[in-house]
């Protein structure tokens, strides 16, 4: 089946894509660029670098801008999915939804209305298993945003490897955070993975951080 991936560039949407690619053809990446940093549906600080990911994956991307106002952003998502259906003849959408019935309900309704399949291969997966899967699938991602205690600015730009994953798991017990960031505790960007032809090298970036909230603003990056 030809599929479009709802793609934020983070670990969950990439992992879902790699799982889908085992038996299906990935025709395009669908990215929402929200101007609202507090959007419930779409939130990722490094969204503009999905273009480099698309290039490295060799999979075309459609980007839809949205103001991020609650109902309007759903209309924009619907427009994006419909465009992908027309342009790439996709029969289904893949999302990285894990536990949010708010997000999944809205995406399921849009797909159902358009007669498209909707696949959520990470649905109900535990945070611990998700982190393990990232390692099993050899996905390298970095943290590009934090929004919870006890994350200090040293987390911005850190790779999610066995050492940081162990630290996240210990945080989950001590601070009751979701260790894979499902509650918006942190955001990630995949910089290298099996489906990438080249990895993303960050050449310059700056950290914006205050009071357990911050983001890594990537200024320059390239494929190498």
């Amino acid at each position: 089946m030809k599929l479009g991936i709802l793609f934020s560039g983070g670990k969950d949407s990439y992992l879902s894509m790699q799982m889908a690619a085992e038996n299906h053809q990935i025709s395009c990446l669908l990215t929402i660029n929200s101007l609202n940093q507090d959007s419930w549906m779409f939130h990722t600080p490094a969204i503009k670098w999905t273009k480099l990911q698309s290039e490295s994956l060799g999979i075309p991307q459609i980007i839809q801008k949205t103001k991020g106002i609650q109902d309007e952003e759903l209309e924009d998502l619907s427009k994006l999915i419909n465009n992908a259906k027309k342009k790439y003849s996709i029969q289904g959408i893949v999302t990285g939804a894990l536990a949010s019935t708010y997000q999944s309900t809205r995406i399921q309704k849009i797909c159902n209305g358009l007669g498209l399949w909707c696949f959520n291969p990470l649905w109900q997966l535990s945070q611990e298993k998700l982190l393990k899967k990232l390692q099993d699938f050899q996905i390298t991602s970095i943290i590009t945003g934090v929004a919870a205690e006890p994350f200090d600015e040293s987390w911005l730009g850190q790779e999610l490897d066995s050492s940081t994953i162990n630290e996240l798991l210990s945080y989950s017990k001590k601070y009751r955070i979701n260790p894979a960031g499902e509650g918006g505790e942190f955001e990630s960007l995949v910089i290298n993975a099996p489906m990438f032809e080249k990895k993303i090298k960050i050449l310059s970036s700056k950290i914006l951080y205050s009071n357990f909230s911050g983001r890594l603003e990537i200024e320059e990056a390239k494929l190498e």
Binding site: N23, T101, Q108, K109, W117, C118, F119, N120, W123, Q124
Partner: protein, 178 residues
């Protein structure tokens, strides 16, 4: 106790979403997962309980295998049908299926004391079909719009229209205790 999980998913990619979360709930029990297309080859007597899992909104392939499911009808096994499994159970007993879309969290009220769940609760629905009346089943829970849980009048066969593996796991664990 040995449990048979029947996947109604046409594609493996849907099983991560509709079968694996149920496996997580029942994993402490011995269980097998079988594909609906292999029903003819399954030895039902090997199992104590059967759970028929749900599938994607666009997935109706299991409807081509309804006759194969009918062999479960007189198996004497305790059966729980979830979402598409609910429709399969209704079809096994010739109840009339109607087109009825429900997607998202809805309020459910239980009508009769039962062994799966009691009181009012919220449930995650995702279906394009349902039933609006039943003859061989008792209605044990309803939303404002539709029938949500049914139990057979004389057999230990249950149907749940929503997805209990999301937010209502106790329905599955209670089924295992019956």
């Amino acid at each position: 106790m040995k449990i048979l999980l029947i996947s109604t998913c046409k594609y493996k990619l849907s099983e991560y979403e509709f079968v694996n979360p149920i496996v997580e709930i029942i994993k402490s029990f011995e269980h097998d997962i079988k594909d609906y297309r292999t029903l003819q080859t399954i030895n039902i007597s090997d199992y104590d309980k059967i759970i028929i899992c749900g599938t994607s909104l666009q997935d109706n392939d299991y409807l081509n295998f309804l006759n194969d499911f009918k062999k479960l009808r007189n198996s004497g096994k305790q059966i729980l049908g979830i979402c598409s499994g609910f429709q399969i159970i209704c079809s096994m007993f010739d109840e009339k299926i109607i087109k009825q879309e429900e997607i998202g969290m809805i309020n459910v009220k239980t009508k009769n004391q039962n062994s799966l769940i009691n009181g009012d609760f919220q449930a995650y629905n995702m279906h394009n079909f349902s039933v609006d009346e039943v003859t061989v089943f008792n209605i044990i829970a309803k939303s404002n719009k539709t029938i949500q849980i049914i139990s057979h009048k004389t057999l230990n066969i249950f149907g749940v229209s929503f997805h209990p593996e999301v937010r209502n796991e106790q329905i599955i664990t209670n089924f295992l205790l019956i």
